[in-house]
């Protein structure tokens, strides 16, 4: 315990000394968050300063080993660091798929050469990553993917189409699943490979969603050549790597259910619905829904803590990520629905006059949230996984 308080002191001093004044209090501003990359502009130059300061100290990827640009922090220390950053309502120095998905996957499954090549560049925000999993005909049934990779000397030649490639229009590299053997059980012929987005034959088209502009794209591959050494894990064993990575993705999407830097539901309800003479939310039905949502978030947060404490105590990670993905997203969606109900007609704004910026933002986040239970494996798929892997129910 004393170690942690010493570290908190150190983290606090470091944050105070290095966090740009401009970014303090901007945690809720999506423009303040940086995912790095060669082509991605920093909307605020201070986000770049913040990222580089953190990278110099290993705090952009705090739990990674020092040799790959991290600080080698324990989970508890990283939590303390995050708390200290959140204390000043700062954005985290680095976000994105490099940090949350491909980095951890390389730490688990990459060769020494692959780690040394990619991890330090992720840590310094030099390379932005996107994910090439889903295809038009391979959504929930991801293993039926058809994008092919055919060996040609020291290269694989890739042809096909990926969809829902978030941020592909700004990414430098893609990690993707390709079919290297069409003649075996579908899970057995998949390979996990890294591809430079500047390779000839890669084409990206953005997708517009019901919420308006989106980070999602379609990405096309026409005879794209990727060196063989960019395969992660064994050839035809990509499904194993992919499942491990999906675990990181589920945990990351599911994490949104905790509320975090979002507006407080009770405060929002007090503002829009009003309070009675005793200070209670002046609509018993809304009050009940706010209470339920707050209690669910508390219980969910405790379950994440219990799971983390278990890992710390040496328990093996299991299929829990499906539980967190399912519950976290359903909770976030209920929360969005409730915020809509609380704002009432003022939640109907699309753009222009008559609506506060927060109200316009609300409309979009609500619409966007409808995808939470679809992306990263639908809620139904998560329930299937729990039924099969945790409960052992028969196919």
């Amino acid at each position: 315990m004393s170690d942690l308080s010493a570290f908190r002191e150190e983290a606090r001093t470091w944050v105070e000394a290095n966090a740009p004044e401009f970014l303090r209090g901007r945690a809720a501003d999506p423009n303040a968050w940086a995912a790095g990359g060669r082509r991605a502009p920093f909307i605020y130059p201070e986000s770049r300063d913040w990222l580089l300061a953190a990278a110099d100290r290993g705090f952009s990827v705090p739990t990674w080993p020092e040799e790959y640009g991290g600080a080698g922090l324990s989970r508890d220390e990283a939590l303390v660091l995050h708390e200290e950053i959140a204390r000043l309502a700062l954005p985290m120095p680095l976000t994105g798929f490099g940090y949350s998905m491909i980095g951890p996957t390389l730490l688990d499954h990459g060769t020494e050469a692959q780690r040394a090549e990619h991890l330090p560049r992720i840590a310094r925000g030099e390379i932005r990553w996107c994910q090439g999993y889903s295809e038009p005909n391979a959504g929930s049934d991801l293993a039926s993917l058809a994008t092919s990779a055919v060996r040609d000397g020291d290269f694989y030649v890739i042809n096909g189409q990926k969809i829902w490639t978030s941020g592909a229009d700004q990414a430098d590299w893609i990690f993707m699943l390709v079919r290297t053997n069409p003649d075996v059980k579908k899970q057995r012929g998949i390979t996990f490979i890294l591809v430079d987005m500047e390779s000839p034959g890669v084409e990206v088209r953005p997708i517009r969603l019901i919420s308006g502009a989106s980070p999602f794209c379609e990405t096309f591959f026409h005879n794209v050549r990727a060196p063989v050494h960019q395969v992660i894990g064994e050839v035809n064993s990509g499904w194993t790597v992919a499942k491990a990575l999906l675990g990181h993705e589920r945990t990351s999407i599911g994490g949104m259910g905790r509320g975090g830097a979002r507006a407080s539901l009770p405060d929002l309800a007090r503002d829009y619905v009003g309070v009675d003479e005793t200070g209670r939310i002046d609509d018993p039905a809304i009050r009940e829904r706010v209470t339920q949502c707050e209690m669910d978030a508390m219980s969910y947060g405790l379950t994440i803590k219990r799971h983390g404490d278990g890992l710390e105590a040496g328990h093996k990670p299991g299929p829990e990520s499906s539980m967190f993905k399912y519950y976290g997203t359903e909770l976030n969606m209920r929360r969005e629905e409730l915020m809509l109900s609380i704002r009432g007609p003022q939640a109907l704004g699309w753009e222009g006059e008559g609506f506060e910026p927060a109200e316009l933002h609300q409309t979009r986040t609500w619409l966007r949230s409808r995808a939470n239970s679809i992306e990263g494996g639908t809620s139904e798929i998560q329930l299937n996984i729990i039924a099969k892997r945790v409960l052992g129910l028969p196919d």
């Binding site: 209670r280 404490d309 729990i386 945790v390």
Partner: protein, 378 residues
Amino acid sequence: MASLVLTAPQEMLARTAAELVSKHGGVDRQRRLRDEGAELGYSPEVWAEMADLGWLGIPLAEKDGGLGMGLAETVLITEAMGRGLAPEPFVSAVVFAGGLLADAGSAEQRAEWLPPLVDGEKRLAPALLEAGSRYGLDRVETRARPNGGGWSLSGEKVQVVGGVGADGFLIAARTEGDDDDLTLFLVPAEADGVEVVAQKRVDSRNSAIVRLRDVHVTAGAVLGEAGGGLEPLGRAVDRATVAVCGEMLGLMTEAFERTVEYLKSRSQFGVLIGTFQALKHRAAKMFIEIELSRSTVMAAARALDEGSDDAELQVSNAKARCSDTLILVTNEALQMHGGIGMTDEHDIGLFMKRARALEFAFGDAAFHRQRFARLRGF
């Protein structure tokens, strides 16, 4: 907050508790006691064994003859009891009555009552509920009038858990007209004017009506301060609530596991019914709710043990979640068992009946959601 992972000694305690419950017959024992119509509703030999293990003193400090353990340990015992529907009045007599006496009792009261309670020679029963009190601790009609140097008590308490065969009762009575003026009394069962009548509840547990007709007690029978009963009572209720949540957790886990086993063994249409996605998804959702429930119980127990500022919030969060999950799981368990689940011969009905008693113990989900909102100030 402390780690939400069991320590090695806690794991051992949980195993010992599970062994004790199953050694005496598990759920079959509850069925047998019910069928015999035993008014005591539990097995004195199991109670004696719990005393030998030191569990009847588990929430008490070592100076009071206890083990000096906390709720984090207590819920492991109640969880094992919940799994096997063990009917011993552990929560009411030990966690509630013993804890309340240790918290608010005078040195004389503690010296007189705690050692025999810990040894299992005597048993106290908290008498809280009245016909009209629902979950309000202050909804008390029982009166205590000053009488000589002592008091004279009149009123009727209902559903006194463990009331049959109890050696004394903890009684909340109104000493003045004002709502806050609630006084706790320690009333021996053999006092003149005390009548104990066994009640039959749906869960077949030991339950009694306790009638008080001008029961005279001395000033030494007051627990804590005259007029100051509500606060220690509230603390005792919170501790007992968490212990009940442990029992709920054990019960829901057992009912759920039995149901999953049934889905893996029952065939219809030539296939195991566990292959049906309509059932798989409901089972998976129950699993998640049980996992969340477990986290809330562990957190609430530790929050009370640590005396955290948010302890009451954690208690209400746990009780609301466990109540909702328990009812979901036992209702679904019966539905998934189909017709056989409706027969008295099958055990699922016993789980369902006990579940309702636990749901309403110390406030249901709606009550605790209201309390949560009030504590949070919205």
